[in-house]
Amino acid sequence: MSDAPQLLSGDEAIALAALHAGVRLGTGYPGTPSTEILETFDRLGGRAQWSPNEKVALEVGLGAAFGGARTLVTMKHVGVNVAADPLFTAAYTDLAAGLVLVSADDPGMASSQNEQDNRHYARAASVPMLEPMDSQEAYDFTLLAFELSERWHLPVLLRVTTRVCHAKTIVWPQNGFAAGSPVAPEPGFKRDIPARVMIPAYAKPAHRRLRQKLAEIAAWNNAEGPNRVFAGGPQLGLIATGIAAMHAREAAPEASLLTIGLTYPLPLETIRAFAQGCERLLVLEEGDPVLLDAVRAAGIPAEGKPEQYRFGELNVARVRRILAGDQSAEPVPPKGKPPELCQGCSHRGVFEVLRDLNCIVAGDIGCYTLGVLPPFQAMDTCVCMGASIGVGLGLRHVLPEEEARRVVSVIGDSTFVHSGITGLAEMVYNPPATGHVVMILDNGTTAMTGQQEHPGTGRTLSHDPTGRIHFEDLARAMGVQNVHLVDSQAPEGTLAALLKDLLARSETSLVVTRQPCVLAAPKIRFYEKAAADRSATAPAPVVDD
């Protein structure tokens, strides 16, 4: 493969580095701004899979790493909440091969429900974290993450943000590790019960081992970590991480700048030495004052940013304001045209019905969240993936009967597989007195993130046929009392009449509305035709006589 420079997004750079690192399996769940990592890895020839959700993705990745295969697991920031359970204990285990978990954060919430700062996870889970500031570092740090993961046998977090994931910058690939770096292990099972079975007897020493590993990594970070100093004058010293380092370099080229690549565990001695040469020291970071608090806790006096800059992304103008201590109101950019449900989108008709029936709608995460905007305004709650069903049930349990009977949970097909199935179990197990109605708006794709496959489509990440979960069969098997399908051919008024009937009953109901996403439909037809053509030309099975 060529080592010529390429113009790559951070996501593409991570995928290329994973390929060069010999990653045998990539797993994840789609989510902006992380989605393109696995799609690119697949396109480059790597083996990549969408899992039903981030928890499963990390568990599959963990099994692969126990089995001696380098593994990449990708998700957006809120996905790490879902994967947090395996993550915290995976940190106690000893891996047989490198495992890198990419957390793609979205400060400013370009396409997310919150702007949580996942740097907190490194400290909370006791897992090293690397934070690249451009695509070159995204590439380099992915390789480095595998090295660190294998040297200390623990998962490594690679935290990127929207402006690293989606910005394109020039990358000089080195196609593999530098000389002297670890060779990719061959998969194979080696029993190591105390390192992998986290019962208290083994977890207690494992916790101590983990803290010892972190102490060693901190020493390595001080001695030779991926931290850079841009020399400048002594008047102003800046410490920055991620994309903030780029804004800092542009806003204050005269300042001395220390950029920190391995942000947990921190190179506190490196920071202390840098601070001693500066008359004024300021920490520049997007989001929460994570770095600032750690620097101050180490007894290094530093300034941070005023509270107003905790919110949203940083940029060069905001960094200039921070340096000037400017706490005046910032100019508000003119409002653009908001996104809306596409013309011809199958969700439109559903939200018209929900609006006209005056339903109380517990909503969920996906394109259909746009049902909250005019002309529908037919959504009353939206919190996290899968929450529609639990929240709908909670409302049903406590509201007066007249209101309870108006409550409907609305969830998309991919979101249902992600974390709606347990909600359905709750509905069957703890049904409200008025029953409940759950709607799956099945448009045959993970639409909002760019039309990815999921277990309900029956196609893999690469769009090849595979096993498929049938929602109606699943709901019947789970014991939901009424299961209905309303497809695109149903006459007008069908859905409204059905909902009215179900809302009046005190039973548990699932309604699947099925019509392909208008943007995805041509591609879905193409994938189906390709699969049909392939099976038609496949050689006849050999039969022994």
């Binding site: 902006t32 989606h166 020039i170 940029n315 100019p331 909002m448």
Partner: protein
Amino acid sequence: MSKVHNVVIAGLGGQGVIKASDILADAAFRAGYDVKKSELHGMSQRGGSVSSDVRFGPQVWSPMVPTGEADVLVVLEETQVEVNRAVLGPDGVLISPDLLDAEALKNKKSLNVTLLGALSAQLPIAQEHWLAAIHANLAPKLHKLNEQSFSLGRAAAAARETPAA
């Protein structure tokens, strides 16, 4: 080569804003510049406002064009001009469909590349790099149409700069 060139391309989801910025960034990359390009994805394909920043020069730091520092603002949809005007610097140039005659506007699907043609008159990037970037970023069956659109846009910009006597 000492200056960083700042270009912002804006429009609505589905108009090819990001494709246009991919082509510009690739052309600048082929011309030997340091390049950075950045935008927000996600909600954009639902028809909302989209804008993409492209910066190139000897060395580029931040991938975002600071407000008031764009050399050129390319807008694919007239309603999006006012929304984005603040990015332009005091001597900044606005390029919008307004610049084009009916003939150049005929193919809506290649409006993004037509306006890149107009943009090309403002930037120190040789034509060969533009064409190579168009080829690298579009399917082969679209090459001819987009080459024509690019030329139309370039000619429209030239005509505006030197009006007939």
